[in-house]
Amino acid sequence: MITAQDKILHVANKLGLTSLKDMQASTGAVYDVDTDLSGQIFSNAARHQNPSITNINENQFEVNEALLVETIAFYCLSAGGDVTNFQQQYGSNAVILFDLVIGNKRVMKDTPVFAAGSPYCFANAGNKDRTIGEDVASTFIPRHQIFMEGAGILIPPQVQWYVQYTVFNIITGAVIAPIEAKQIGCYLFGTKVLLNFNTTI
């Protein structure tokens, strides 16, 4: 079984990134929200407030920094800046269809994230929401994640990346236009390489 570190070093070697192996291995996540309702996430991160909307200054890593993407998740951001659940905002019949693009290459292709809860989440509840004492059901707050268990995907240094997405209604097949008060956000989580001028670990 190839480890995350093995994969990073393998790709770095292929790309001629000879010094990446000397950098600090870490765990990290990058996130951003499609505030323009453009159907792209991360591509406009440079214009977004940090950290309320994003935690990056631009949609590429600096020299000798990289991220091996192992988990991708989607969420919503309300007009008031609250981080909320996609299903709670768009309903169980919505689906996000997304591509992950690195450089000029599409590395995740037409991948669905079902609002009702996605594959890979083991039908497990993200959370349960219930008003105690009231005559309502316990409701699930499903997870909207893709766990890349077979192969993580490396975002190398100094290469731009973005997520292209569209929201559909599964039942009718119609596109659901992005809603200003329910902006779609995304995070990429995984093994991170941080710039370090000294030999590491």
Binding site: M1, I2, V11, K14, L15, Q87, Q88, Q89, Y90, G91, S92, N93, L97, G103, K105, R106, V107, M108, K109, D110, T111, P112, F114, A116, G117, S118, P119, Y120, C121, F122, A123, N124, A125, K128, D135, V136, A137, S138, T139, F140, I141, P142, I146, F147, M148, E149, G150, A151, I153, L154, I155, P156, T166, V167, F168, I170, I171, G173, A174, V175
Partner: protein, 197 residues
């Protein structure tokens, strides 16, 4: 134990299929609209009239440079109001996956991973659904049932250019008049002209 990439490389090698390409995580899905009550559902057979939000394939086979490993079978039922329901109601159903002319998953019961029985096969599920006696009619944003999901113990390979389908059999499953969705998730390879990231 062989990992998903190892299994895919082994089978692709046996078949003489291309082993290069971008490694990725792949989820194929297909929707059946207005399924109603029926004893048989066949996913990945009909693509006519479906939009990109209802399927991410245009035919029931992968492209010539693509292949994937199925690790998870996912089944979702939505009412016409967009409410997530128990898949097929509460009756027992079985699932079969046919790749080429070979049945690779045969009559696997799915009701244990749905609704109220909560007797899913693996230990990773917390539960599959929850019901209380206080249930009031849900809305699309108040979800009381989770989709069904079965984690396969043996990875199943879909090679390039080989037709496949998923069959659900029952003695009259109630799938309502919204839509049912089947997704096959796992590791895959997609066409890539250059080096992989």
């Amino acid at each position: 134990m062989a990992s998903q990439p190892q299994k895919l490389a082994y089978v692709d090698g046996k078949l003489g299929a291309p082993t290069s390409g971008q490694q990725t995580t792949r989820v194929l899905f297909n929707t059946i609209e207005v399924p109603g009550t029926t004893s048989s559902l066949i996913f990945f057979r009909n693509f006519q009239g479906l939009t990109n939000g209802q399927t991410n394939l245009t035919q029931n086979k992968l492209d010539s440079m693509e292949s994937m490993v199925i690790k998870t079978i996912y089944l979702l039922q939505l009412s016409s109001a967009g409410i997530c329901r128990e898949f097929g109601g509460t009756v027992q159903q079985t699932c079969s996956i046919i790749v080429g002319n070979q049945t690779v998953v045969k009559n696997l019961p799915i009701q244990f991973a749905a609704g109220e029985s909560a007797q899913v096969f693996d230990r990773l599920h917390e539960n599959a659904g929850v019901r209380t006696t206080q249930v009031v009619e849900g809305t699309a944003t108040a979800q009381t049932i989770m989709p069904s999901e079965i984690r396969l113990l043996t990875d199943i390979v879909i090679p390039p250019q080989v037709a496949f389908e998923v069959r659900i059999d029952s003695n009259g499953g109630a799938y309502e008049t919204g839509a049912v969705v089947c997704a096959l998730a796992g590791y895959g390879k997609i066409f890539s002209a250059g080096n992989s990231f």
